[in-house]
Amino acid sequence: MKVLVPIKRVIDYAVKVRVLPDKSGVDLNNVKMSLNPFCEIAIEEAVRLKEKKIATELVAVSIGPKAAQDSIRTALAMGVDKGIHIETNLRTDQELQPLAVAKLLKEVAKREDAKLVVLGKQSIDSDNGQVGQMLASLLDWPQVTFASKVTFADDKQSLTVDRETDKGSEVVQVTVPAVVTADLRLNEPRYASLPNIMKAKKKPIETLAADSLIDAKDLQPRNTVLKVEEPAARKAGEIVDSVDSLINSLKNKAKVI
């Protein structure tokens, strides 16, 4: 069974993000970029499926500028077999939006004849959390989102997935082909071993132009970002000396009671 793993190159989680002076977006110049943490978890899950001989081939796909190939190389070093780079110069944190991404991934999934798509539940730059769901709908496949555990049946056709919801854990069973989105507790990604980093250099990465897969107009953003600004600075707290004083502050200053 071929497994497709869509991954995204985003601002590194440790970076102190700054907004551009014209408030059109976040400053990406000379900023450290990394593989999205949830994508890393998705790759790890796919690699484990291959180790359990449930997946036969793993394909990583990433959309973005040439540098997106860095993330693909990391995936290859972790155990993915080949990579597909869909090239576009649209800003992947705000211009290239979930529906366009889902449409592109639909084409790749069909092209690769994948039977399972495993991807992160959301990216840490745009935080939309929509691609997996939209992709499943476009493909007309079942979806299981926020997966914290994935277990395949012996026949390798159906899988039982624990998903994390606001109410707790929910157990869902689906049959392939299916889309699964990875949540934080699904697994702990491995470090790429040094020999695997070298082996990754020989694995193929195919580059395709985004508008060769779908119509150029479908790539364009449907929402326009009007303004990006930092959240209001947190005001210092206040130390109160009695319960009465506390209630007074909650009532009259914070206005929460």
């Binding site: 590194d12 970076v15 450290k32 040094l194 020999p195 980093i197 070298m198 990754a200």
Partner: protein
């Protein structure tokens, strides 16, 4: 007084977490240098991630409690880091000297003890066995060490001679199908954890250094005894001990390389080892700059961060320069080695310069941190203690001067 203590505690916590979590993402690092090969960048990033996640959180504990980080060393082995330059067929990662230098820097930046455990295994044990061993020896004695399943060590120094390696007085008496080793070796890194050792002993003292041969010794062989762990100033996670041989039996087929070639093997091994130790020193120097630069921005004095004072900027400038210069010297030596060119002088220069940079930077880091640099709430004092040994082992700074000077003269003579 209480407010002062509270303020300094918050400062410690934020600076300490900043020092611990100064992830590669947040600041510009040498890994951004466009001339670095892609695989070296990836290796650097992997090692950095590993170091920050697995080693940084326990480095202070390793030092305080004086224990060998077995779990972390095992993980390093799984990643291929205990046999970085060893070919794949013998269980290694099959990478080059540049990769080794970068890996050493990144690991040592988090924990210098783990760094020395790694470098002794890589360049002092694996390298000579790989270069001078026969296939049978490599299968038995290289594979399990390069793959990280077991640890190796190197025994050259003796209680009576360190720099004067040619005066080895440990003897190896030929008994037909085996040798009997007698004598003692001092300052052996990994002595308590190693399964095998590369040991230098003389079969004929009259031949002076030409009488020395190299042997692969099983640490469990009868007659081999490991002394108590030395109570060292720094790199306290690594075990260092005297090892004594009393009629220790070494089978004939464990002679490493040709008889009488021991001295050459030792010198050749130390050349490569110097790149590793230089990398370790560089890691310590970089960690020192990381902690000093972060602290200087948060600590206020005379109503502004001390980073705005010239005196502090001058220190940071000197540290930064010595670090960059060390790195380039190390990379030059590594590149020459990878190109198959002579690199003895360059490795010696790298080791000498980087070790002095480490002691300088660690010293200045304590100075920048002031009183906080003197207590173990901050890692600066550990860097200071860890740095010191880099000017001594794997060839003292004096020996490095000798090696460099001798090579310079050779270059200038017809």
């Amino acid at each position: 007084m209480l407010a002062l203590a509270q303020r300094s505690k918050t400062l410690v916590n934020s600076a300490r977490s900043a020092a611990v979590a100064s992830k590669a993402g947040a600041q510009r690092t040498y890994l951004d240098w466009p001339l670095l090969k892609e695989e070296h960048v990836m290796i650097g990033q992997t090692c950095r991630n590993f170091a920050e996640t697995e080693l940084m959180p326990i480095a202070a504990k390793i030092d305080r409690e004086h224990f060998f980080p077995a779990e972390q060393v095992r993980k390093l082995g799984e990643l291929g880091m205990m046999g970085i330059q060893v070919p794949g067929e013998w269980g290694g990662a099959d990478l080059d000297a540049m990769s080794y230098a970068i890996a050493m820097e990144e690991i040592s930046r988090a924990c210098a003890s783990t760094g020395v455990i790694m470098s002794a295994n890589n360049s002092l044990y694996c390298a000579p066995v790989e270069k001078f061993g026969n296939d049978e020896q490599k299968e038995k004695f290289l594979k399990p060490i390069a793959s990280g399943q077991q640890i190796g060590c190197f025994m050259l120094s003796e209680p009576g001679n360190g720099s004067d390696a040619g005066a080895a007085s440990t003897t190896a008496t030929d008994k037909g199908d085996h040798f009997l080793l007698n004598g003692a070796k001092a300052w052996i890194t990994n002595a308590h954890e190693a399964s095998y050792a590369v040991v230098f002993a003389t079969t004929d003292k009259s031949l002076k250094h030409k009488g020395i041969s190299a042997f692969i010794v099983d640490m469990k062989a009868p007659g081999v005894s490991v002394g108590k762990k030395e109570d060292k100033l720094g790199i306290r996670g690594s075990s260092t001990a005297t090892v004594t041989f009393e009629d220790a039996v070494v089978p004939k087929n464990q002679l490493l390389g040709a008889p009488g070639h021991g001295f050459k093997i030792a010198m050749n091994t130390l050349d490569g080892g110097r790149i590793g130790v230089a990398g370790q020193a560089l890691g310590i120097a970089q960690a020192s700059l990381d902690v000093a630069a972060k602290y200087a921005q948060e600590r206020k004095s005379f109503n502004k961060p001390i980073a705005s004072l010239y005196a502090i900027q001058e220190k940071l400038a000197k540290m930064s320069m010595k670090i960059d210069a060390s790195r380039l010297l190390i990379w030059k030596a590594a590149m020459l080695k990878d190109a198959g060119k002579p690199f003895t002088k360059d490795a010696a220069q790298a080791k000498l310069f980087a070790s002095e940079a480490a002691t300088f930077c660690a010293h200045q880091a304590i100075q920048v941190l002031g009183g906080m640099g003197y207590v173990n709430d901050m890692p600066a004092e550990r860097f200071y203690r860890d740095a010191r040994i880099t000017e001594i082992y794997e060839g003292t700074s004096e020996i490095q001067h000798l090696v460099i000077g001798g090579n310079v003269i050779k270059e200038y003579s017809s």
